[in-house]
Subunit: 126 residues, 2 copies
């Protein structure tokens, strides 16, 4: 039974992505990983981490006298939850129009088109 996915705010996503990608990190590792990508002060990033901990999206392990953070929620579950909230909000839950709009807008290379084709073929069969 999976735990409920807490709502992750825009800025918090950046932090989660670092944790998903690099696994357990100290707060400073996260700051380093994000430096360049964002213009936040280290303190700000610490705050985001704390909030994520409070929400249950990130878990803490004490390591000596320092903490180490790692994602407590599954990345694809979060993506799925965010996606369905988006489709609900913008397309009133209608997946197909959403997909169609996405596809029409997307600027895809021929290879990417083929990838999508494969998934589509899979769906047809499955």
């Amino acid at each position: 039974m999976r735990k409920a996915i807490p709502k992750i705010a825009e800025s918090e996503w950046r932090v989660m992505q670092v944790l998903w990608e690099h696994g357990p990190q100290t707060a400073n590792d996260v700051v380093t990983a994000l430096s360049g990508a964002v213009k936040w002060k280290p303190r700000t990033i610490k705050t985001l981490i704390s909030r994520l901990v409070k929400k249950g999206a990130v878990k803490v392990t004490e390591e000596g006298y320092r903490y180490r953070y790692s994602a407590a929620v599954d990345e694809s579950a979060c993506i799925g939850s965010e996606t369905s909230s988006f489709v609900r909000r913008v397309y009133q839950g209608a997946m197909k129009p959403a997909l169609a709009a996405f596809l029409e807008d997307a600027d895809l290379s021929p290879e990417e088109i083929d990838d999508i084709q494969q998934i589509l073929d899979q769906k047809r069969k499955g």
Copy 2:
């Protein structure tokens, strides 16, 4: 030169969708249209409308001594803006993985799959 799309909050989307779908309405028309769909008090809906007016997403026409509201921003522009913000946040801007995930998750009928196929074919040619 298109006007910038104001950020439309979750609840406000419901209001915008009514205005896009039914054109100019009085506040009460919107309330009626939404009743059943949401559990908000009429006052709440009025507030949402006012906020949208202030943001410039909705425009007002005086009609006698009553107001009539209509969308001031284009629906597809809003959808586009919301979509790219979503893809940026969740997929770090990578459209193709977003599409792939969407497609894999979607529960599509054979007809819908064919529709998507057509769009895909179009893309390949175009």
